[in-house]
Symmetry: C2
């Protein structure tokens, strides 16, 4: 392989080719520490032309490639296997701003820019880039595109796919697909860029994107509300949308078990404990005080069990911190089997009731931690204590998953709402996905990557396992 | 072919198989009367199962298929050729409501339902389906999907692609792709339904769709404003978005030549004639009076040459009728070479100036009628009087198109913003589109329709001509 690595170094410069274990280590272990890979090397190209030359070389030499952004995948989508034969391509050096057009409300950035940087560039220009998620400080735009990222504002602004106007993609043979359009309407042929959004790097390597910007909201009204049931939460969602239209930008729910965990590790922070808690946020032009008053007036007409409204930016941050503390709080409380599921918002109450019944029948003492983006039907649904001591939890993982996913698909849902499939869920996808759709996905993979060199070992390669 | 038609009749019932010229006539001439086809027959299936059986039969017998919705294509995308060997499949009988979920803000309808019916079903349930375009009374959802329709509200709500949650598609071999999801987040594999949106029936036949609904706005503020230049119009667009955020749902512009035509055929209707006229509409929850007052107060702070505000629903309809009269008014004034082009909104002023210079150099007395959806960069840009009498206008069509499209692509635009390509623009697409993208489109066509039976003779088949 020396000759191959020499050729890689000739393309990107030897300073950007990492071969020593201490240098490659940050690229070989996934975010949740579930997959430890061993790569041939890590290449850090600095331009689209270098990426194209790399992929052309890899195609000629039949070397497999693992594209990697911020390495924040929760399903092992960006981790190499242990063969020592896969080349990791890290995109972090492709992080330039290419264009910012405030009159057209669009921005063009390279794939290695972090999400937080894009948000900041937009805000500095008086615009909003609305994608918002926990890892925004380190995840990169290329990864956001490759998983069709979701997060906290999908209810109002849609997923990464809907925020994307154009893409630049290097195909597996090194050809460059130039589709960096800033147009909102374009019917000149098939929209081929759609194939690469959500493809987890298995069809090509995204090097740049043109993204939509929005007016930067100047007013926020944020409330934490207690309701007596999940159905009451969904009814509140409908009523808020009817009353405030698209001002409703976030609608998060937390079960009572979530609130109890927060109380245990952050005592005194929660203003109440109710069967369900809702974090709702309105955004608008104009000023916050007027918007908050409107929300207060409206809430007075509703049947809400309990609630607090943020009267300042500090209040608002405090409410958000409670929501954001959910992941860390759960981790402190021990292992859990995590799910990133989605059902239609209207089906959330029935799903929650029926899935709890099924799980409790199989595992009488089971603990269910359910929270998430109810406004778009996406729940994080995490299971622990299938046995009293929780020490052998993962021996029950397959049984738990089968029960949860059966219920998800009974309610026309998905087993991967916003985190993708990666290495973690390929065999489950085989079980639940429409076979005609799966066959079409495999045909497209074969068409674009006939030698199977793009991110092999993930769900789309081989058995999909 | 008798045996084949007998088999078709056995699938759909002989009452739904049209073979006589007087019966097939409505399906053989396109909307703009440019393409007159002669079909083998017209089949009107009544269910997804019948469509699947038809396509399976056509695949076995190698009979070409032309899917047709409301037959409102402006580029001949749904018209058969003159061979007498293509089977038109009309979708009008597949027009059932399958599901309406107000809590999830989604509706599932069959492909043959008209756009106006979907709008009405949504409104009856207190929701908005925002796609809105001139032919909405007769165009069908399947056609809207197949052209990725745009229209008047894309600025705020996006095109048909962004309004689509799920699809049911019969593939050319008769297999059914079941992707009628109502989910807003789904990362479980490639989003293969995207291929069929905007494919103009060349990859498969869409039989049903799940679409997004929105809160139904209760307040409107509509104004017709005069500004002194196209740059002033684009500046006004930015200022309105900044002040009113997503309340700005429509932003249409009309050049002075448009206004003069309106004055000629509808004298006294226009309140003013200015270099450019803008039709802007805000939509919101709450009541119209308050929204109108906000708009009036804001306009008072702006440098607007002239303007009128609608104070009643009747006023509002009158302003909209002026905008909608543009097509008919132009037709009354004689032939024109029409373009459906798009550029980034920010590039509209430069494009207009430079394209006028280029056209005037080639055709000194040329008349340019420019109007359209400036909020999303989509202009209808129509040319007449390339020679003094306008009688031989179409002899100059290729020269005019080359000048216009050269300017469009200089400004990173598109030659087909919202009407598709069809039979009309295939050779232009070849000239201007990224060759890597074109090659990928052809490969996908070959993959899904290896015998070339889906809507042949349109841009994706053969030479693309």
């Amino acid at each position: 392989m020396h000759q191959f690595l020499d050729a890689v170094a000739a393309i990107i410069g030897s300073a950007h080719l990492l071969t020593q274990p201490q240098d490659t280590a940050p690229y070989t272990l996934d975010y949740r520490r579930r997959y430890q890979g061993r790569p041939l090397a890590v290449a850090l190209p600095g331009s689209k032309a270098e990426v194209a030359a790399l992929l052309q070389l890899c195609q000629l030499q039949r070397v497999a490639v693992v594209p990697q952004g911020g390495n924040t995948s929760t399903c092992g989508a960006a981790t190499p296997d242990t063969s020592g034969r896969q080349l990791v391509i890290g995109l972090g050096r492709l992080n330039r701003l290419r264009a910012l057009d405030t009159a057209n409300n669009s921005i063009t950035v390279e794939a290695g820019m972090t999400l937080a940087q894009v948000q900041q560039l937009a805000a500095d220009a008086g615009r909003l880039f609305p994608l918002s998620l926990a890892s925004e400080g380190s995840c990169q735009i290329g990864g956001n595109l490759s998983t069709n990222a979701g997060g906290l504002a999908v209810l109002r602004y849609g997923t990464m796919r809907e925020l994307t106007l154009g893409l630049e993609v290097v195909l597996p043979d090194g050809q460059v697909l130039h589709q960096l359009s800033a147009l909102r309407k374009d019917t000149s042929g098939l929209d081929v860029k759609q194939l690469f959004i959500g493809a987890e790097g298995q069809l090509g390597l995204i090097t740049a994107a043109t993204l939509k910007l929005f007016p930067l909201p100047t007013a926020h009204a944020t409330a934490l509300l207690g309701v007596t049931s999940s159905q009451a939460a969904i009814d509140l969602l409908s009523a808020l949308r009817q009353a405030f239209g698209d001002r409703l930008t976030t609608f998060e729910i937390m079960s009572q078990a979530c609130q109890q965990l927060l109380e245990k590790y952050h005592p005194g922070q929660l203003p109440f404990i109710q069967p369900w808690a809702v974090l709702a946020e309105l955004s608008d032009s104009g000023d916050s005080h007027a918007l908050q008053q409107k929300l207060v007036d409206w809430l007075a007409t509703q049947d809400i069990a309990d609630g607090v409204l943020a009267h300042s930016e500090a209040d608002r941050q405090q409410l958000w911190q409670l929501r954001e503390a959910m992941s860390e709080t759960q981790k402190r409380d021990g292992a859990s089997i995590k799910h990133d599921i989605g059902v239609p918002s209207s089906a959330i109450p029935a799903f929650l009731a029926e899935c709890e019944t099924a799980l409790t029948a199989a595992f009488p003492g089971v603990r269910i931690i359910a929270f998430g983006h109810a406004g778009d039907g996406n729940l994080h649904y995490n299971i622990s204590y299938t046995r009293p001591d929780n020490a052998h939890l993962f021996e029950d993982e397959d049984s738990v998953n089968a029960i949860v996913y059966d219920q998800v698909y009974r309610h026309q849902g998905t087993l991967a709402a916003e985190h993708g499939v990666g290495q973690l869920k390929g065999h489950w996808l085989q079980r639940y996905k429409d076979p005609v759709a799966l066959q079409l996905m495999r045909s497209i993979k074969q068409l674009l990557d006939p030698h199977g060199l793009m991110n092999p070992g993930k769900w789309l390669s081989g058995s999909g396992d």
